[in-house]
């Protein structure tokens, strides 16, 4: 892990956000995106982590408490602290959490495939949660809000058709450190702001351990590579650890497929999304 300070730009915090301004913009984004497709309500898979907590708070701020459904979906190995945090978030924004325990359906499935490793189990859990969210979306007439931030989307640190699935994602263009800044500005409970980021598939799981990198560094490197379009060599010359920069670049490239719709075999003159190009807000 890099501990070398950046030799230039040391005064400018490129990841700083004007929180009230961005929050106002995201409130507008949510209200507009929901109402324009004929919905009034949203549903969020609330884990008690900072991303889904921020999205829940933004949604309440945008649409009002009555229009936000928070679904907490623990598995038996989830950290008990997660429920405490999720409930604290709900209390702080004035909504109630609905709880759907996914243990029975996940365990029933893996009784048939007992050799499945942690990754398969984790992905399955994420997809069970997605499936429950979309079912409740229909039942509650509530649009599914995404909770993936820019860091994890770029690193591919999410489950395709699992936690990456949503109708609207208010935080997908914010790096993890920016998510924290907004969460602090919205006054989310202290425990949510201070605990180590985790997918919480088992107690003690840690994003930063699994990634082998710290968000504080990853976000800066991603910002340089993606937003500033600096070359790998330029980023390394700024003092970031070469192996780490290589690893980040490899992850971003390797996970590109996760950020694109499925590939369609080209046959006609007007293939969907290639020559057939309409905005999603077509007719809205």
């Amino acid at each position: 892990m890099s501990t070398t300070p950046r030799p230039i730009d040391s005064d400018a915090d490129t990841l700083a956000v004007d929180a009230p301004f961005v929050i106002e913009l995201l409130r507008g984004f949510i209200a507009d995106g929901v109402r324009k497709v004929g919905f009034e309500r949203v549903i969020v898979g609330l884990s008690g982590g900072v991303d889904s907590s921020l999205v829940t708070a933004l949604a309440v701020s945008s649409l009002g408490a009555d229009s936000v459904v928070a679904l907490f979906m623990p598995y038996r190995s989830s950290d008990p602290q997660s429920l405490i945090d999720a409930l604290a978030v709900c209390e702080s924004v004035g909504i109630k959490a609905e709880i759907v325990d996914i243990t029975p359906q996940v365990d029933t499935y893996f009784d048939r495939f007992p050799d499945a490793d942690r990754t398969r189990r984790g992905n399955k859990m994420a997809r069970e949660r997605m499936s429950i969210l979309y079912d409740h979306s229909m039942a509650e007439r509530a649009l599914v809000l995404g909770t993936s931030n820019k860091t994890e989307l770029l690193l591919g640190y999410g489950t395709l058709f699992g936690d990456m699935a949503s109708a609207l994602n208010p935080i997908g263009d914010l790096y993890k450190t920016q998510v924290y800044a907004l969460a602090r500005a919205l006054g989310l409970p202290q425990s949510v702001l201070t605990k180590a980021p985790s997918a919480d598939l088992w107690v003690g799981q840690s994003d930063e351990d699994e990634l082998g990198m710290r968000y504080a560094v990853v976000d800066q490197v991603l910002h340089l590579l993606i937003d500033e379009r600096r070359s790998k060599a330029e980023v390394m010359a700024l003092g970031f650890d070469a192996a780490e920069v290589d690893a980040i670049v490899a992850r971003v490239r390797g996970s590109q497929y996760k950020r694109r719709p499925p590939v369609i075999a080209k046959l006609s003159n007007r293939t969907i999304d290639r020559e057939f190009r309409y905005p999603r807000d077509w007719g809205r």
């Binding site: 004007d18 507008g28 309409y278 077509w282």
Partner: protein, 329 residues
Amino acid sequence: MVLERSRPGVIPHAAGEPGEPVGEPSIVPEMIANPAGSVTIALAQFYPRLGDVAANLAAHLTTIDGAAAAGAGLVVFPELSLTGYFLKDQVPEVALTIDSSEVGALRDASRERGVDIVAGLILESGEHRFHNAALYISGGEVVHVHRKVYLPTYGLFDEQRYVAAGDRFRAFDAPLGGRADHRWRAGILICEDLWHPSAASLLARQGVDLIICPSASPGRGQLQGEALGTASSYDVMTRTYAQLFTTYVLYCNRSGFEDGVGFWGGSRVVDPMGAVVAEVRGTHESVLVHSLERSAIRRARVAYPLLRDERNDVNDAETDRLRRRHARG
């Protein structure tokens, strides 16, 4: 939409000191009949429904009524105000011809309400080319058509894929609903046209008093300092052009979202000294009503005779030299 009346005086943060002349302004300005004259204009910071021309036209007509009732001689709508911006394959589906019933409805409104209209649309030519265009409509006639020259095709923009580029920047006499008691010369720059100083400079050289800039500018960039990066850029450009060319700049940006992209509003009137004298503070739909003072143009050109001093001969000679060199390869 809410009608916002501008408050008298200058918006404090925006006043600036004059810079060195850089453009190539002025020959024309005709003698003005009444230097004390003024005319009220309205900027409609509007949220068009994407691809729904009928709904947008209806909203235009309502806004035009309101602006006329407020005494405006001109109401400006944003870029592509009749269609929305990120049209993609809808371009040929929403395109209008100059003799369409929709343009006819705006012509009728301009005549009946006594207010001039700048509206944005996809304009289809006889050769079935589609232009991102703005019409200046007055007294039942289309007085001027500006076809966007600079079509951004980078970043989130893809205009050259869908529309054809215009090829001229022309000034015209703006009747301002017949409510002005002297001649006002105007020119239109659509959004990206503003990013090319030669465009504003060509208008200044044709003697404009008024640069009208309909815009559909998506907010993006830095998230610091109470404004997105794009808003800061337009702040600089509108103030700079107003000051260097000693003209009014009417910047009318749109409101709303398309596919998650937010348009940042911030429509404003910048006076010929480069001061922001009226502004919509926010992204919401709003109609900004403000009075343009002929005397402000006079004062600016007395204090800073930049257009008088502009060396068009030097500019022409240097341009010719560069063109000859270019022709020689």
